[in-house]
Amino acid sequence: MTKRFSLAQRLNLVIALCSLLYLSACSKPVTEFHETVFTMGTLVEVTIVGEDELLAEQAYIAILDDFNYMHNTWHPWQRNALQRINSLLQTGAPFSLAPSILPLIEKSQVLSEQSQGLFNPAIGQLIKLWGFHQDNLDDVFGPPEDSEIQTFLKTLPRMSDIKIKNLSMSGTNTNIQLDFGGFAKGVAVDATIEHLQEFGIKNAIINAGGDLRAIGQHGDRPWRIGIRDPRMDDVIASVDIKGDESVFTSGDYERFFETDGKRYHHIIDPRTGYPANKTRSVTVIHSNAATADAAATALFIAGPEQWQEIARSMGIKYVMLIADNGDIHMNPAMAERIQFVTEQKNIMLSQTL
């Protein structure tokens, strides 16, 4: 029996064809504003899509001022407002609140407590002892003496040692030296994203040296973020972001020096006084960049055994931790979102956070 396609079947084929054309049309390029600038001690990329170019330019110029102000005010080893606060905290006497530093102190006090002290910006003296209070780490010739570290740990300063009462604050530990390090970057990303939103911008990414917050989406699709492998010159995985989320990674490859063939990186465990050594990198996704930043540091220090406990207490829902032995630890919610570039056989799924 001879059978030919009916008119309806042919129409279906034409509809399928039109659908394909429609899909292609969805991928049309959207207007994109992209600029990079050196500020906050790193390279900051600003991407704005789907907006008028003049508006994007105006918003970009406005947030450049924000970045420069925050960089100058919060830099950990330059003469600025933070240095003045550090000097006053060490006296133990009450002094007037510093409006430019207060938001960082208050937010980091909460995050430090939630992280059980693993995120601790009060240990600036210890960071300095390790030689990380300078741009050029070639001048660091080795780790500090163990006795110096142990002496510091005997009176380990904590964020709770800063007391805020009415319009004044004071320190109760003479070893307090605030160093907001990468946390300042998270706060700066939050502040500048909010400033972009005040301009009416709905779709943007601010990427400060690899740590970013993305709002909205890229045209008709989510933002696509690549996550770099901590040991290879390549991307290990990607994650899609839609809405408003931050992706922050702490890694042992960011700032370090090497002595006698051993690498000493900048993420110091406040419990031991030494660089945390059980983790290569931690990637955190969270709605707030400052929280993501603090959590990435705390979970890096927590390591493969304790990260789940700290993530729960900090309210973090998406974590990927690459351990020193190369094992990839993550929670099920993160596993659902992340797409590895190549198959990974050493994935350790945790309980739900």
Partner: protein
């Protein structure tokens, strides 16, 4: 030998339509759904105008930065710093870069390399590290 059943089912117009759909799907897959490598890099420095370099042409560039000269090498779609006036040499240690959306920089020398593609829809919008 062709299948007589198929010959009787499909008209010439059906066959042309199927062929056209196959070509269209291949086209869409190649240009819209595949991840493509970066095609070019945008070089920025405080002492030179911003410019593009083709990543498919092996070449070496000397870029004048805030401290001195940075040397950038391109080969087989990848780019890297091979020398720089900075002291830490972190830019050199960061190795090769080849993905759309990746950015490499020598912070002290204020020289940056931003990788991009003509097919921006298939690239990473940012690289987290």
């Amino acid at each position: 030998m062709t299948n007589p059943g198929l010959q009787s089912i499909f008209t010439l117009a059906d066959k042309i339509l199927f062929l056209f759909c196959s070509i269209l799907i291949s086209y869409c897959y190649y240009f819209f759904w595949q991840s493509t490598p970066a095609a070019y890099a945008i070089i920025k420095s405080p002492h030179q105008d911003t410019y593009r370099i083709d990543l498919q042409t092996s070449q070496t560039h000397q870029v004048k930065g805030a401290l001195g000269t940075s040397t950038i090498e391109v080969t087989q779609g990848q780019v890297r710093f091979t020398a720089s006036a900075c002291q830490n040499k972190l830019c050199i240690k960061s190795g090769w870069h080849q993905h759309n959306g990746a950015v490499a920089a020598c912070l002290p020398n204020r020289v940056s390399i931003q990788l991009a593609s003509t097919h921006s829809e298939t690239s990473y919008d940012a690289i987290n590290f």
